[in-house]
Symmetry: C2
Subunit: 342 residues, 2 copies
């Protein structure tokens, strides 16, 4: 998979418009951070790591195209850009993390000449882009060792290239194993309510030549019962100190099914996802999202108006259901091995 979801070229930000997938594959570009902020808001780019990178590149646009005549004016503009970009996805931790990194660089350079500050922002943004790419690549190198020639792997949601700059987290090991010549095929859970598996995971695996079949979330157990799934790999939104994993709603059910059928269940995530301050999974706050995500489909009502809907964005999979955790630091088969990564 040598396809970048978001990248910098000729002093513009390019990205694939994910709202049009899988029906239309369109690369859009801008040199205006306001427009980029709108695109983040509209989910044209999504996935925690990719949003962080987009925020950083937005700051780079603000720095380059600033019309400031003085450092004071430049700082004013950068403060404004930071505000505009950070308000796009108010719960996206990676976005604030990336903007903070850029801001530290600006503070670090504040006594330098104006052009040095502008250049510093761009350089830092590109290093954030590059770091995301390298972390995903390293996760992939480690995870690939878990896959054998002929494996059929189930994944849930999209923890792939489209959620990062390139390669992804859960899918990175699959791309790497395939590039090593192993034959791997994938089942992608469609992932209700937002269908990231049906729309995005299937699209990117297929584009990379990895055989992929889409199933509804409730079909995975039936495939496992028939011995058609060897391994499961998913990403993570947050991993607690005890190894419990918060990830896209539906992950827990997949993990329980995998346990029942004796199938390995892997979690792949960058170190930034490990939150050693959270003692256990039950302490991870779970966002409940809008009723309309479940009750409406492209404007068509599928649940009666007066019937309530429960729509949690994530669930928590207990560590005892996880066979291995994979990060850029390696593979942990036991919870205590994760703690050595601190």
């Amino acid at each position: 998979m040598e396809f970048a979801t978001i990248y910098w070229q000729d002093e513009r930000v390019y990205l694939i418009d994910q709202t049009l997938l899988p029906n239309n594959e369109k690369i859009i570009s801008t040199n205006d951070y306001h427009e980029l902020a709108e695109w983040i808001k509209e989910l044209k780019v999504r996935g925690a790591p990719a949003i962080g990178v987009a925020g950083a590149l937005g700051m780079a646009l603000a720095a380059i195209y600033s019309s400031a005549n003085s450092k004071d004016e430049l700082f004013d503009e950068l403060v404004k850009a930071r505000g505009v970009l950070s308000s796009t996805r108010p719960t996206a931790v990676n976005l604030f993390w990336a903007l903070d990194k850029i801001w530290s660089e600006i503070m670090h350079l504040r006594d330098e000449e104006m052009f040095r500050i502008r250049l510093g922002v761009v350089t830092k943004a590109l290093s954030i882009w590059q770091e995301d790419r390298m972390i995903c690549m390293r996760i992939g190198k480690h995870a690939a060792t878990l896959f054998n020639d002929g494996d059929t792997v189930l994944t849930h949601c999209n923890a792939g290239s489209l959620a990062t700059v390139m390669y992804g987290t859960a899918l990175s090991g699959i791309y790497e194993a395939v590039s090593q010549g192993k034959k791997i095929s994938v089942y992608a859970d469609e992932t209700r309510p937002l269908l990231q598996g049906a729309r995005l995971t299937s699209w990117e695996l297929n584009k990379s030549g990895v055989p992929v079949t889409v199933i509804c979330d409730n079909m995975a157990a039936s495939l496992m019962a028939k011995g058609k799934i060897n391994k499961v790999i998913v990403g993570a939104d947050r991993i607690a100190n005890n190894g419990d994993v918060a990830n896209k709603i539906g992950t827990l059910s997949v993990a329980i099914n995998a346990k029942y059928f004796g199938i390995d269940f892997y979690v792949a995530a960058p170190m930034s996802t490990f939150d050693f301050n959270i003692i256990e999974g039950s302490m991870i706050p779970i966002e409940e999202r809008d009723r309309s995500e479940v009750a409406m489909f492209n404007g068509i009502k599928i649940v009666p108006d007066d019937v309530p809907v429960y729509n949690p964005a994530f669930d928590v999979t207990p560590a005892k259901l996880v066979t291995a955790w994979i990060s850029e630091k390696g593979i942990a088969m036991k919870v205590k091995d994760i703690r050595n990564w601190r």
Copy 2:
């Protein structure tokens, strides 16, 4: 729940058009069996028991409105009606069962006067309607004893009033428990791909004043983990001699999750669903359905064109995951108890 999904009144067949639910609640009626056959084909009435009843009532329309001047002409018309009605849903076992019952009655009466034969068909059709209603009611009386005041029950797909004449199979016990004054609330799995839970189960429970909340299929485990589900009850499409249960895709995953969390898992079905000739669940043929059910949604594509889809209609839940089977004959807690129902 005193609402009939399909009924006979003033020598016409009335039914609720299920293709319009949940957005529009419309009762339609006809005295033309050709039109009724079209409605069965168009899924205006669905659910195995309800389809069987519709077929029988279609024969009653053919018998009443026949313009035959002789018994030979009447037989010709009834043969034709049987052909038209049986070709509507070629895999619906209950439809053939009901049409065969009507046909036996016709054969039984073949030497009688013409008006006696016509009357006999109508009487038999109404008795099939009434029998379905009584079986569901009896299932409900038994199942209700399993529910306690304050229970929160999960169900999958629609095994309710809308799948039968009245009451349903899985939902009948809930309606009965509620009518006995027990407070029961329900979570309804939306049931991808065809959303019978979101559209139909939620609609009929809500209409009957039973509190119901819709969830995506992949959210049930997260509710169970939080202790928010006490019991699970589902219907069945076929039950093997060893107690294995074929039911709507997704049932197996719910059963495995229930086992993991120590939650009772009940299966409610009429005796006609028990197939003692099938030794075990793995021998039950599983229909694979059209790709478009998963890949398209109301004409909108959600899976890339060149990505395959796996779409089994049913899965098989092993008997060891079932806490109790409920039929009109009672409650079986062990597989050997089912065999006593033979």
